[in-house]
């Protein structure tokens, strides 16, 4: 196992070449080192993010100026935008692939993949993941699935276009929509590989967290990041296989004539032979993953934000035990609420009542978390680093987006806002924007650990403020077009006059979307330029307590040059004082986890 297989002393040099012959390929491509794999995940995730966000800009332009001709449509969409006017087919394909890429490839793999890989070994005090090889395979399967998903954009009949939820029969029948031909096949193959990748990653995270914690690192001393990644991995292992089974059944319906999801269908003048299947079954299977999936997306962001808020507030996270308990409660509840996506699917109304009950229960741990974050800021000494700003904004968007969940989770109220833009506004704020903020906060915070250099803070501030204003500019007004009863996934809302008064709002949102997307270029520039030209980082730039900041700036195999540090305390001893009001370590407002209890220090049980 790579976790114990190296004599770390040998690698304490800056020069890596002495003992292993590391070629470009073994170092940068087929690496089994968790830190390199984390970077691979991050960069692949960012590339997919660029594609996904570009797509959203394109369809937002169509929504604001329906049927207008734009040269950029013609340049990027080719035959799908004859004369520069976006076609109906490609509009649906864009929303479908945007959703798929952002949810799975950016916010699942890009977020959880990056930070679980980077932080689990570093923060628990392990040399590497439990299985470096499995970890490598996991990344390469993810890369393969990304390539397949992107390649599906180029097939003749167009990419999958049945919505990211790919409900059959639309997704099963190429006669119903062009994208359900080869494009859908590639979508399903890509997702099957993605699921395999995700499972390998998750199993690795679970085993590593359970088995490889350093001496003294009890579960109650784990940083909240690790708790979040650990529980996320468990949810992934529980729910992703269900999506795989749904995908397999859909593949069989599509290619081998089975009828799991199809029944009584008349299309293009022909009655299909399929009999006895139910699309509602697919919805159940899909959302059994689909709902936990949103927590797979948001929990790592919550963990990251908790850590960054505490560090930059120079205060312990408020209510550590409550935070852990609420992560566990959210994880448990997340697997029994999927039906709230299906209140009007035709399932038994009694089930609707049950799912309303469980869904609104989830608001309780979420509320506790939000209050605890706010209290963490109270009477702090807030260090306004870009990561901190994104973490504060995370709390803000999580609350704004989460509150509307009270409307959507109520089966009665869902009737009239179901599948309208109200839903789009809700989930973009609560899991899309919030999780992206978590990702960005994490990048700004751990960039020094990943690349040994600092990102430019002023560019970070610009990036933050424009993004923060832009995100609300897009998604807050969107609630109102949802309340006006405008359904989502409409190519245009001008085919009848009733919604004409929403056009100014659509333009408003699109302008913000374009600005917000454009400002991400500042981030990308900052990110890539800082990798090469950033200011050299010190070992512990944020004066943080967690173990990753005890490793040298230069990456080495096995993380610590000497013995793995022992842990003597939890990770939140910020601004801890003795009886006399003096810091525990005089002149220093933080006590890292590997520092033994000081003389006269009182140990608190958290």
């Amino acid at each position: 196992m790579s976790a114990v297989g190296h004599t770390p002393i040998d690698h304490a040099h800056d020069d890596h070449g002495h003992h292993h012959k590391e070629t470009f390929i073994t170092k940068y491509i087929f690496s089994t080192d968790h830190k390199m794999i984390a970077k691979q995940y991050l960069i692949t995730g960012l590339l997919m993010g660029i594609i996904g966000i570009m797509m959203s800009v394109l369809f937002r332009m169509q929504l604001a100026w329906p049927g207008e001709s734009f040269w950029i449509f013609e340049a990027l969409l080719g035959k799908w935008a004859p004369g520069g006017v976006m076609s109906q087919e490609i509009y649906l394909a864009l929303v479908t692939i945007h959703g798929t890429i952002m949810v799975f490839f950016v916010l699942t793999a890009g977020l959880s993949g990056t930070f679980s890989n980077l932080l689990i070994p570093l923060q628990i005090g392990a040399r590497d993941m439990a299985s470096g090889f499995l970890n490598m395979i996991s990344y390469h399967l993810f890369a393969l699935s990304s390539v397949i998903m992107v390649s599906s954009l180029f097939v003749e009949a167009g990419p999958a276009s049945a919505g990211w939820t790919i409900y059959p029969p639309l997704s099963a029948l190429p006669q119903a929509i062009g994208g359900s031909g080869m494009g859908m096949t590639l979508w399903l193959v890509s997702m099957a590989i993605f699921i395999a990748s995700s499972l390998m990653g998750s199993l690795n995270y679970i085993v590593t967290t359970i088995n490889l914690r350093t001496a003294g690192m009890s579960m109650t001393r784990l940083p909240l990041t690790i708790w979040a990644f650990f529980v996320t991995a468990i949810i992934g292992v529980v729910s992703f296989p269900v999506l795989l089974s749904a995908a397999l059944m859909l593949i069989m319906d599509r290619s081998f004539g089975t009828s799991f999801f199809l029944s009584d269908i008349y299309l293009k003048g022909e009655v299909l032979a399929n009999q006895g299947g139910s699309p509602v079954l697919f919805e159940h299977l899909f959302w059994f993953l689909g709902h936990p999936e949103v927590y797979i997306v948001i929990l790592p962001a919550m963990g990251i934000v908790s850590e960054i808020l505490a560090t930059n507030s120079r205060k312990p996270i408020f209510g550590y035990r409550a935070m852990v308990a609420s992560i566990l409660a959210i994880a448990f509840l997340s697997t029994i609420v999927w039906g709230h996506h299906m209140f009007v699917s035709g399932m038994n109304p009694f089930l609707g009542s049950v799912f309303t009950f469980t869904t609104l229960l989830i608001a309780i741990p979420s509320a506790v978390k939000a209050f605890n974050w706010i209290t963490t800021l109270w009477k702090g000494n807030l260090q306004m680093n870009p990561a901190m700003l994104f973490s504060i904004a995370f709390v803000s968007t999580f609350i704004t987006g989460g509150l509307t969940g009270i409307i959507l989770g109520d089966s009665t109220l869902d009737i009239n806002v179901h599948d309208t833009y109200f839903v789009v506004a809700h989930f973009h704020l609560v899991m899309g924007i919030s999780a992206l903020y978590g990702l960005l906060a994490g990048v700004y915070h751990w960039f020094p650990k990943m690349f040994g250099r600092m990102m430019n803070k002023n560019l970070g501030y610009i990036h933050f403020w424009v993004t923060s204003i832009g995100a609300y500019g897009i998604f807050f007004p969107m609630h109102f077009i949802g309340m006006a009863g405008l359904p989502r996934r409409y190519y245009t809302n001008t085919s009848f006059p009733y919604f004409d008064d929403l056009m100014d709002l659509n333009v408003f949102m699109t302008v913000f979307a374009i600005i917000t997307a454009a400002i991400q270029l500042v981030f990308l520039y900052n990110f890539f330029a800082s990798i090469f030209y950033g200011k050299k980082a010190t070992q512990n730039p944020w004066n943080s307590n967690t173990l990753e900041w005890t490793t040298p700036v230069e990456h080495i195999h096995g993380n610590w040059p000497g013995a793995i540090p022992h842990v003597y305390r939890w990770s939140y001893d910020y601004s801890k004082t003795n009886e006399n009001g003096e810091y525990v370590i005089p002149g220093q407002d933080f006590v890292p986890q590997h520092i033994p209890l000081q003389k006269g220090e009182e140990e608190l049980n958290h």
Binding site: D264, W465, V466, F480, I481, D500, V511, T538
Partner: protein, 374 residues
Amino acid sequence: MTPFLIIIVIALFAITIWQLSKIYELSKDTGSIDSTQVANDKDNQTQGKLMLAFGIAFYIFMLYCFWVFSDRALPAASSEHGIEYDSLLLISLAVIMFVQIITQGLLHYFSYQYRGKKGQKALFFADNDKLEFIWTIIPVIVLAGLIIYGLFTWSSIMNIDEDGDAIVIELYAKQFGWEARYAGDDNTLGKANVRFIEGVNSVGVDQSDPYAQDDVITSELHLPVDRPVIFKFRSQDVLHSAYFPHFRAQMNVVPGMITQFSFTPTVTSEEIRETEYMRDKIEKIKQIRLDRSTAGEEDMADYEQFEYYLLCNKICGVAHYNMQMKIVVETEDEYNSWIAEQQRFGELMQDAPEMQDPEAVEAESGNEMAQAQN
């Protein structure tokens, strides 16, 4: 119009960049050593104040949105259960906005108030069971109230009384349109299945079923006011969703399955056109369309008068956005005379040339006939 908007976008963007470069310059010019890229006191000052400014701006923006955009929201419900729906929505919105105002205020205020200063000591405050208990129990109580209210409303909406004087109407969805089938004088729908689709029998009604003879198939939905309607939904191809925004009603339409929803319309089309809300709205839309026509970009048909409509609200293919049906709510008398004018299914089939032998259809569908319901 469009070039104008694009220019606005570009101009706004340019202004943003310009403003940002100013911020950049300003924040650069802090006089402190910019070697570490870690926030210093100056940054904490600036960013803390910006956080407060953002919090205030966000309040104003929310108020502005409610002030300006709320007239776009749907008018008061035109159905019996819709009244209850609206009041539940109002209560939930009030609760949400109350919490939103408080939490966002605290968040942004704390970000400003406790911005870092050299020498400032943070309070080591790790736990307080009392506080945590309070903010666990408050959501529990509030949510319990909302859940109970919601569930009572839900079960009264979903509890369909089949024995009363409700009219039974089948709504039939296909790519990309709707058809309605009234159950006729016997108020019982004839059996139907996609396997019966043939020529003019476009919704696949079983011709041999005596209940089917008086069914009426229409392309417009007429409903008598103040009388419960039970909708039975059937799809011939993919998932659709029957969305009646003004009646606070929605149900997915699932191939291979019959779903149902029931409501009682309470406001006729005539009446809603006379409401102040609808007059203003239609005036506004007419003006928008007139402006666009005179701008010469497109010739927009006049928006004559408001009609209720039924929309498809589940992605169903390329023309999903244009799958709609007009709904007319009228008095019982008007409804009765309208329905009397419509052709019965039996007559329709007699008029149709070259009817196929019903026996053959039956043989073709074989055992699967059991699937055909109603």
